[in-house]
């Protein structure tokens, strides 16, 4: 493994950790906020709702993995 790949993997593990789905979810939610913000509808509620849903989903998966 090259030093660059190792450094990139290190940064990924440091920021994203063991739940990459939550990280992807955050990116999608921010993109959705940006999309709604271009319309006439208020966009502030998109990210908080997404955060609660992502957290619930992440916890559900962790709890299921713990039971196995």
């Amino acid at each position: 493994m090259s030093a660059v790949t190792a450094a990139a993997l290190g940064v990924w593990n440091f920021v994203v950790g063991d739940d990459w789905r939550a990280a992807i979810g955050v990116v999608v939610a921010i993109a959705a906020t940006a999309l709604v913000a271009t319309s006439t509808v208020a966009a502030w509620w998109v990210l908080p709702l997404a955060v609660v849903a992502l957290l619930a989903d992440s916890l559900r998966r962790a709890a299921r993995a713990g039971q196995r």
């Binding site: 994203v16 955050v26 921010i30 208020a42 966009a43 990210l47 957290l55 619930a56 916890l59 962790a62």
Partner: protein, 254 residues
């Protein structure tokens, strides 16, 4: 000091105190068991590396346009914060072991005693102290940079971090034992809520959303996320109790 700046200072202080307690445990275990001079050299080297990192990246980040900074750094902070919050909820719900400084201290001491020893400069003590302080410190540097850059107050964030380190180090020197009575798991829970709340606020703002009440929206986001997180803890505990009650009972014969 504005409410957002106070939130910044409190979040950085709590996060840094938690990480400093963990780093202190490693430093105390290696220093007590092996060599204080080599251990402190490792601490010094790690601190210098972290200072260079914050000193180099801080001005670079603050020179970015505010919306780019908020959406990028806010998103990163949210991803990072959700990771903290998820672990904290799982710990509080009983699905993940609580962090125990006494156990960590005993483990580090056992490992330090088992490693080969040589007189003079001790590479083991230096490396373990360097790695421990650097790894714990990287999380603090990340939080100092993201929080500080977003509000253009890297200095305030670094000051809060420095204050936490000084207080934890002073307490460690005074009692010469791991700070096992610090409510570390509760502090991690609080930091997870703060990081996720600020990440949500800045991420949405950077993406073009306008919060009702502007900065005052944080006074709703933080308590709301705290309440939801505590509800998740209660749900996890309830589910664990139900699953334990439904587990088949094994009757042992005599």
């Amino acid at each position: 000091m504005s409410g957002a700046e106070l939130g910044l200072a409190v979040s950085v202080f709590l996060a840094c105190a938690v990480e400093a307690v963990e780093a202190l445990t490693i430093v105390l275990a290696v220093g007590t068991t092996r060599s204080w001079s080599s251990t402190l050299a490792g601490v010094g080297a790690a601190t210098a590396l972290l200072a260079v990192l914050v000193g180099a990246l801080g001005p670079a980040l603050t020179s970015l346009p505010i919306d780019v900074l908020r959406v990028g750094v806010g998103g990163l902070l949210l991803v990072f914060g959700l990771q903290w919050l998820r672990k904290a909820i799982l710990r509080a719900g009983g699905l993940k072991a609580l962090h125990d400084e006494d156990a960590a201290f005993a483990h580090e001491m056992q490992a330090a005693r088992g490693a080969g020893f040589r007189a003079g400069f001790d590479p083991y003590s230096f490396t373990v102290a360097l790695k421990g302080v650097l790894l714990e410190g990287l999380e603090v540097a990340f939080i100092v940079l993201t929080f500080g850059a977003n509000q253009h107050r890297v200095g305030l964030a670094a000051l809060a971090a420095g204050l936490a380190i000084v207080l934890v180090a002073a307490a460690g020197i005074a009692i010469r034992a791991p700070l096992a009575r610090v409510p570390e798991n509760t502090m991690k829970f609080a930091v997870g809520v703060m990081l996720s709340s600020f990440g949500t606020f800045w991420g949405a703002e950077g993406a073009g959303a306008s919060w009702p009440g502007h900065d005052a929206a944080l006074l709703v986001i933080i308590p709301a996320l705290l309440a939801i997180s505590l509800a998740f803890v209660a749900l996890i505990r309830r589910a664990s109790e139900l699953s334990a009650a439904q587990a088949p009972v094994t009757v042992s014969g005599s």
